[in-house]
Symmetry: C2
Subunit: 190 residues, 2 copies
């Protein structure tokens, strides 16, 4: 519905917008939200003026990046959920979410906010994500693959937490694997 309200962008404008989003994703995720806006413009090969024409605020840009990322992940999760049986789908998605948000404090924070408060545009996509996660959790619990007393908030907290943990072990994949082992084992019923 939002795209319906916008008149179509001129070809070059659309290209620049896309470039900005890509550059912002890259820069924000690798160097943190603290980087000057100008860096992003430079990385995208456009002027700062152009950046602010497309995104009225630095925050708006960040928001756009996060929304896009949330959507991507939700989509993949949905596909996984549809194609795999519940238990496997649940654990695969857990991995997916953690891996996709690895090294990305911003995204982590976005997830965090999913449980607290968000701007309108974020609200929608994070709601979708929550729904998807809830469904997966439900399925896995029904099949007895996950302890019944774990709720959605705990799942989200764990996702964020494991994401943080994994981030620290970026250099050591084997150790990261052990983190998954531990948490997955803990999630299963005794």
């Amino acid at each position: 519905m939002s795209s319906a309200s916008e008149r179509p962008l001129r070809a070059d404008a659309a290209r620049n917008r896309a470039r900005l989003l890509d550059a912002a994703t890259e820069v924000f995720t690798t160097r943190g939200v603290g980087v000057p806006t100008e860096e992003i413009a430079r990385a995208a090969g456009v002027g700062i003026g152009t950046l602010f024409r497309h995104f009225p605020t630095k925050e708006a840009l960040l928001e756009a990046v996060v929304v896009r990322r949330l959507q991507t992940i939700t989509d993949r999760a949905a596909r996984l959920a549809a194609e795999t049986e519940p238990a496997e789908a649940f654990f695969a998605c857990f991995r997916l979410v953690v891996e996709q948000s690895a090294g990305k404090q911003e995204f982590t924070r976005a997830l965090t906010e999913a449980g607290i408060d968000v701007h309108a545009s974020l609200r929608e996509s994070s709601e979708l994500m929550r729904a998807q996660l809830s469904e997966l959790l439900d399925g896995a619990q029904r099949v007895g693959a996950v302890r019944p007393e774990v709720g959605l908030p705990e799942l989200i907290a764990l996702l964020v937490g494991v994401g943080t943990a994994a981030e620290q072990l970026a250099a050591d994949p084997a150790a990261r694997e052990r983190i998954f082992d531990v948490v997955f084992a803990g999630l299963r019923p005794r």
Copy 2:
């Protein structure tokens, strides 16, 4: 040794220094590292000049706060380790560390850096903490209370991760308890 090299502070100066540390701890942990230095001075009831006299840099102040916090935790952990048998000590310390660093991104980051790079003063106290943790882990593993394949880096990553997770569930102690349940269960051998 560092206190030996300093001449004793004048009474009021010492008081102000302590106030600054307390205020900084409070403000940093509740509102993030981003708060203006001046706020801290105000919270401590001193002028900015005084703040910078005691801590030449904002970073130095943060460092002092973190060092103090690390020491406190390490001390408590050591006491726990001495007074309790290994398995219980390990899990109690896990809780202790997580709870003490809850809501404190700065401290979390400090712990993070414990695995990466740190300034000289931090290095010392974080090294002590690491040693303490290593000892606890070792004891618990020797007693068979924790999977043998979990190493110190994984433990630290988990501490940070669970800290992050717990932070999100600040409003819901029961849910937080479930996080501990899951992770502790996962840490135990099958």
